[in-house]
Amino acid sequence: MKTTAPSADSRGATLINHWQCGVPVTHGPVLTPFLLLLTGLAGIGLGLAALRFFSPLGPFSAMNDVYAWGIWKTFNVMTLTALGSGPLALGIAAWVFNRQKLHVVMRTALVSGFLFYATGLIALGFDVGRPWNFYSALMPWRWNSESAMLEISICMPLYCAVFLSFEILPLILERIYYTGNERSRAFLSRIGPNIRKAYPFVIIGAYVIPLMHQSSLGGLLLLAGTKINPLWQSPVMPLLYLVAAVFCGLGFTIFLLMIVCLRYARYLDAAVLTELANLLSGVCFVFLAIRIADLIWRQQLRAAFALDKMSLLFLFESAMILAPAIALRFRRVRETPRALLNMSVLACLGGMLYRFIPTSIAYVPLRSTAYFPSTPELIMAAGYIALGSVAFVLAVNYFAVLPGEAGTWDHTFRPFGWPGKASQSSIAGPIPTAVVQERAI
């Protein structure tokens, strides 16, 4: 990571600085009314989930034997983990394709991805009917290795609990280092180098495993066969699900970075954002190319433009992905914050639509039964999302998640707006003036 001086935007509209390292949010109240609202929603959702554990699924959901999967699976897991694929997309770009600039926003992607996966897994835990039999996951001789469901039920918890947790471990250790006592600091200095030694090996798993389970989410739907409309049902669905996850991860990271920087009055970094936008546009084009080639190969192109309900849905979804793909080719769009934000949201919505439609809207079984999520189902789904949002807000306030200027990162152990701890610190150092400046905003 290079330390460069903040530079002024050439167009003079916005001051654009370089993001240099993760910096915690240290000003403004943490508990805003909005956060309390989200906490309440998360509490209601989790309360219902706890009730659900002592009750059959019937009273809590509108699922039936024809639509056996409700929104907990189809939205909270299959759709939202695409948005949580930021660590996968950015990680591969940064570490495998050596896009050095992206290292600085990895933490934002990692924390959001972890929360999407964790809340998805909570949703899954309350969705399955016989969770007490899940201990079979530890017994490889019971595994049905050809089942995509097995791949997901093992890889997703493994990825979240081991690989993502390891990747966000430095954030937590760093905080303990800066707020803890001498003993913990000595301990952390000792294990720090070991983490660095293990890191390049662990991240191999952290990229291979989501490649497997994000494609398996598409692979799940292959077995549904003719129940899914042929515009979506295709042998390349696993690949498309994976590519959709990659661009959703990129798009959501752009979106998240921009809105939190707006919220906490941080400067944006044009260099990093345009790099992400470039990648986003490229992956969107790859997705559309595979999608069209697949439709031509399966001779479904006529059905795709038949302008009936499914065809319009397909065109709508593709347009949502095509628009950012084209728009972000233009430098002016990439460098205009408002346009970049809009385009990344469009890409996210397009990818989410692609991942949601075949599980629900284009899922047309033989027996004509309708499914619309019941109120408790919706509240629980919203509660899981609220839980993730609350955790993210707390994370950016107490950990060095969001990117900022290196100058605003206080290395003299005055961390995280905890003045009590700061005064105890015996280690002296220069206090950068930039710290004072940022607090003044």
Binding site: M1, K2, T3, G22, S55, P56, L57, G58, M63, D65, V66, A68, W69, W95, V96, F97, N98, R107, V128, G129, R130, P131, N133, S136, A137, R142, W143, N144, S145, E146, S147, A148, M149, L150, S153, P170, E174, I195, R196, P200, F201, I203, I204, V208, L211, S216, G219, L220, L222, L223, A224, G225, T226, K227, P235, P238, L366, R367, A400, H411
Partner: protein, 321 residues
Amino acid sequence: MNVILSRRQAFKAMIGLGGTVTSALLPAAAHAAADSRGNSEEHPAHPIAPPDAVAMLFDSTVCTGCKACMPACNEANGLPTDTLLSGGIWDMPTGLNAKTKNIIELYQDPQSDNFAFVKKQCMHCLDPACVTGCPFGSLVKRDLGAVTWNSSLCIGCRYCEVACPFEVPQFQWENWNPKIVKCEFCYDQRLKEDMQPACTSVCPTGAVIFGKRTDLLAQAKERIAATPEKYFENRVYGEYEAGGTQVLYLSSVSFQKLGLPKLGTTSIGHYATKVTSVLYKWLAGPALVAGVFGFFIRRNWERHETERREHEKKTGFPDQL
């Protein structure tokens, strides 16, 4: 000669190269081995029924709709009666559900007086999609071809319901300890003891009969040959549908009108696993990707570390990971 690699690096490169080559070659070798043994593929596109496979043959033109098979099924499986529609008086299910493994349904033509009965239960596919999808092997295809469910392995993910093209497995939504309810060919109750399933044993007209699949298929074709004008399309539903099933249907009206889905002849398990079974053979695909990623990550990591050490020396503060 100028030696660029250290001994250790050379070993590493050899191991890496070896691993990559092996993981590329192993699946090919495995594939070749499978081919040489003939039809030993896990999910062939058109599975061949084993010689001991049993079957049911349901002839819709013979069924009178007496529903004798339904209480017989309930009794053999210990199922409660579904009295929701009858006001608590008698068993009156509207379709396969958590209390019903077997049902007689009526098709009535909206224009004419034509009608036909159809018996619905598990089709016991030769390559069942539910068994392919079941993560911990709770649903298995047993000997004689019966597809059965094991409560101690099921996690209740309901993937079988999504996978089954006939929409047979039913989940107990109103039970805290939910079970998957589906016809199991009376495997534990009767089939194991050399008895035929309850439904076929009580059928008074012989509309549904039990026997070896090959025998029943031959018999069905004889019936079609004897009176070809009586049967729709002159074919047996279940002979090839979804790779073939162990429940066979004869009908005078279109099978789709009876509520049987229009399916291709390829096994669904084959469609779903033909690519992944090659990619994931001995985890060769993931290992290959891990090898390639590992090579680049290692290279970029070294660069990153060099830069980090320079940066830390310059500023005197630890760099973030």
